[in-house]
């Protein structure tokens, strides 16, 4: 792909992407490492946002990148419901171990926080057989789908 400036890419964005998905800055990234983001024009930024708190271990942490490369060569997707894979069950085991509480726990995975909230509510409703309300506290954002 040819190298374009932030301004050129912004024009492209405005032409082809609706305004609904908002943007906090007008810049496009070239690469990131640790707490530094470099834009397509070579300008460096200190990152206090971490992609909304999703980069606690740092952008492109070496251990993460090398494992991902290895995994990409092996298999990318089968769907857990079709053919299972070890990383899913192993991560579930680890999550059950590190979350607070000593009673036996179980974990399953979804694609986003919004889905996690929805599923938490679904399980609670099922478990309590109280089909009606859930009672969340005033929290301004719990995901974009209608339910959560």
């Amino acid at each position: 792909m040819e190298q374009r400036t932030n301004k050129e890419l912004m024009t492209l964005r405005q032409e082809h992407v609706p305004p609904g998905p908002y943007n906090v800055t007008p810049i496009f990234i070239e690469r990131a490492k640790g707490a530094i983001i470099e834009d397509v024009e070579g300008k460096e930024y200190i990152d206090f946002a971490g992609g909304i708190g999703a980069e606690n271990v740092g952008h492109c942490a070496e251990q993460v990148v090398s494992i991902l490369k290895e995994q990409m060569e092996q298999y990318i997707h089968t769907c857990f419901h079709v053919v299972m894979y070890e990383p899913y069950v192993e991560l579930a085991r680890r999550m059950n171990g590190i979350t607070p509480g000593n009673s036996p726990k179980k974990t399953f995975f979804v694609n986003s926080g919004a889905e996690a909230v929805e599923n938490g509510v679904k399980i609670a409703r099922y478990a309590r057989q109280r089909g009606l309300p859930s009672l969340p506290f005033r929290t301004p954002f719990m995901g974009a789908p209608i339910w959560p």
Binding site: V24, G53, N56, F80, G113, G120, K122, A124
Partner: protein, 285 residues
Amino acid sequence: MTLTSQIKPYKWGFGPFCPEVYRMPFAYCYRCPFGLEYPACQIYCVDYLEEFFIGTVAADAVAALIAEPVQGEGGFIVPPQGYFKKIKATCEKYGILFIMDEIQSGMGRTGKLFACEHFDIIPDIILSGKSLAAGLPLAGVTGRAEIMEMPHVGGLGGTFGGNPIACRAGLAVLDLLTGEMLEKAVQLGEKIRARLLNLQEQYEIIGDVRGLGPMVGMELVRDRQSKEPAADETKELVKRCHEKGLIVLSCGVYHNVIRTLMPLVITDAQLERGFSILEESLSEL
């Protein structure tokens, strides 16, 4: 979106939403919804739950109570010690499941793996996400086995949920979030707090500095007495920061809180560079 309380921009024009979702005022002590002061209030906002169950919805009909241990989009609000213990006790009294949304506050963000550890409570269900897979889309639902095993086979799941690439990233993240990184996170939190409190002494616009570990919020107000939210100023501050080379986000129901979500691996020099840009931008407001 039904659960979301911030009408604009998230819900505006997108309705109707699911019925029978109820909201309680949060322990937002800087702007107490009941006009009280901690600790004299004795955490009245939880007692209010009992009144809620009489006049608004019967406790027997409530399946779950969801809360973030530190409110994220809501404005990085940290409830006082004792708040969640009292809530958990109320939930247990009525057989209501207590769900902690640790999507933003978890995975080391507050200096512990999960923020609810600061409050010494054990939720029935914990939701994780965001930093769980270092930027790959992955979220987890973890709960007591007897609850999690209840929904029937086929009742939960989806095509991409727990994708192998994302799960491998999650395993790598857990290997990284060990004692050493969490210790660094605690120190980072102290540095952020000290720097922002110092800025608060110099800049009248900073009404409140609060947080847990490196999850810190700075609330901007036009007047420290009236606490009128400085939303336009916050927007301008964010803009000036990125023009000078710092990417920073705001949050809060009044859009007037600057929040820190930097990677925990940030170096001291990078942190200082970020804060000097923040200070320079503050001085221009």
